[in-house]
Symmetry: C4
């Protein structure tokens, strides 16, 4: 973070920021669509490439009421640079992740019910499905309990993901944070995290499960990350 924090959106990034406002706004519609949120309880952000800036949801605004103009542009310490709304109360946590991990371009946060149930127990989701190997490359880990308001949540997210292939972490007693190269990848990881949290929960109600062998996990993850999609 050696460059000074911008006080306004630089002219040359105007187009990119407006594109990201629309993109981040649109991705919020995926949260209720996939049953990841109740009322206003989840949020998505995107890093502005080439600047120490991020675009994030305003705090406490219902998903159906969001427009691109409501998105808030903040610096990577969570200070508002542009926007007429108060940013998400999770802004500081998103900002910490962007500061610590330059490779990350998108962050999503939800309290999706099955994933949060694992988080409530502080239990990692074991990698027992090929879809988990594909997307997460192993277990979905647990991060520490941390209070909102300072750097503790962001620090916990970064520490828990350190050295793992998983783009998702279950924050103990709280909910899910996911990351990706961009905001869409982070939202996809949030959708897949809830999906496997649910399936593995249901599966285990019926009997014990076996983790996939590590070499299969490695092969599946490698193929999915490199050969899947367009």
């Amino acid at each position: 973070m050696s460059t000074p924090t911008p006080r306004a959106v630089p002219e040359e990034l105007r187009e990119e920021v407006d594109r990201l406002r629309a993109r981040v706004c649109g991705l919020h519609a995926e949260l209720p669509r996939w049953n990841l949120v109740a009322w206003t309880s989840g949020n998505v952000s995107a890093r502005v490439p080439g600047a120490d800036l991020m675009v994030i949801k305003p705090s406490g605004v219902p998903y159906g009421d969001l427009s691109p103009q409501d998105m808030v542009v903040c610096d990577l310490y969570g200070q508002v640079v542009e926007g007429h709304r108060t940013p998400s109360s999770d802004t500081g946590s998103h900002a910490y992740v962007y500061r610590a991990r330059p490779d990350i371009g998108g962050v999503a946060h939800t309290h999706s019910p099955y994933a949060t149930a694992w988080a409530a127990r502080g239990e990692a989701i074991p990698c027992v499905l090929t879809a988990m190997a594909d997307e997460f490359g192993g277990d979905i880990p647990v991060g520490p309990f941390a209070l909102i308001g300072g750097d503790d949540i962001g620090r916990g997210v970064v520490a828990a993901l350190e050295g793992l292939r998983s783009p998702a972490v279950l924050m103990r007693g709280h909910g899910v944070f996911t990351v990706g190269a961009g905001a869409e990848a982070a939202v996809k990881a949030a959708v897949m995290c809830e999906d496997v949290a649910r399936t593995v929960h249901i599966a285990r109600q019926g009997g014990p499960l076996e983790r996939l062998p590590q070499e299969h996990i490695d092969a599946l993850h490698d193929r999915y990350q490199n050969a899947y999609g367009q």
Copy 2:
């Protein structure tokens, strides 16, 4: 309740009452949207500020058929003051809450499935999630079993919420009542109550849970009530 009950909507409140008819009508769409109700089994009301009046759903009318004109204006003893419909059969319970608690401006009632499952057992939902600390400031309490038709349900709701920060109560063998400064806050509490009832139920199926420490609950609740939103 020292002022006499109005026999009609006072002229100076006409605009406010019409605004509340539209608002209360619109909030009923949130009940099926968040899967809180089956058929016609939930209702919302709002106090008319500055008068001993409330606006409430008509009885037994499907959510998709409701228009603002169908809402019923009652006094705080549940007598109809304006409207061509029979009011909700829960009107007396809403009315009691408004009489006893002048700080409450909105009430919602549902049989949402996970919360009602806790109510069927008469078991409070333990505060094991940060989202519960935020919205409820502790456990969601249980109120007594009470029959519809008199003041018993309303009395039970008020007694169970006495001295607590929770805007929700699980009425034993029945369902959920939530309250708020206005009708939207009460509906939000109903949505959040079902959300945490579900997550904590699922979590406990997988193993024992620990209540959050009281000082964390206090800090989270204080922050959410004072710093969240716009």
Copy 3:
């Protein structure tokens, strides 16, 4: 059944039959809306008042493709009287119910998941919720296992409901049949049956439940049947 079976819709019932075609068709949209059916697996019928006729869904047609013209008019032995479609394969069961119970004007049949789970075990749903007392007036009973094709299912439905206030019966190893004064009441009973089947299932996962006292069940049922609605 002393009157001879009509060979065509009598002229004086044309308007009523057309109204029922539209009504029964429209009620089928409630089945997917309330998550009671998969693909084409549920059906609704209505008796034509004043004639030994019924209006029922055609067999195997997706809900989104149904129009009033697709509904089939049958006599009360399941023979087609009017319509260009094959009637539901459950027509014989609906017909038996209408023959045996002149007070019944509507029948619905689903494999809704939670109610069918109780049916798979052959276990009645105990009346532990006020909403069950309201709508069902007691436990939801279990009927016998019976094969489709003859009168066995219809006979089992009628026998299981004999002397009870419940408009719903869980047919063992099969699914749910509900009845009512009209088709809408039968569909409402199907929605409420799944709702309480789910809530009571979830409740019992967390601990033992107590049936409501009989005098409370009686009082609740009496009030709901006589004072609820418009």
Copy 4:
């Protein structure tokens, strides 16, 4: 497979292929509608009658973005014959099924949650419901764990379905493959498989279940396959 693989869609099949592009595209909307998929994780294909060709979903494209032009025409070894998109990463498995089973005209693949939960444990779903006898004619079997990329999954699907009436197989640690005379039948089987996987799971949480007697299963399956529908 004695005929040479086509290098392009033959002129005389142009109309049929265009029809199948629209049909297969449209059937993908059923996957999210019935809650069988998360994000882009399920796919459907159809054999082109009269040619060694199939039409399949492109890889990693969201369901809401699919148009008929996005569907990919492949030969029965998974090589692209027509289309501007990369085909589903499951194309090789679909292709193997078409090569080995000339009677099969449609294949669907999902990770639907309840069915995949049974697959995670490698446990067949016992035939305890009439709806299972109707559609599957017995238990829904388990196929072997197999890695994507070669013929192993397709081979496992074909082997597991050998000699059974079930159009669905639970691939261990992975998900569901279903087959049918056409693509719609395969999608219907996927919907019904998830439905019964869920109901039987819920039923067993409440107590032990009994498989239907074989002669009842036989009678139900025979009737449903021959007398149901239009």
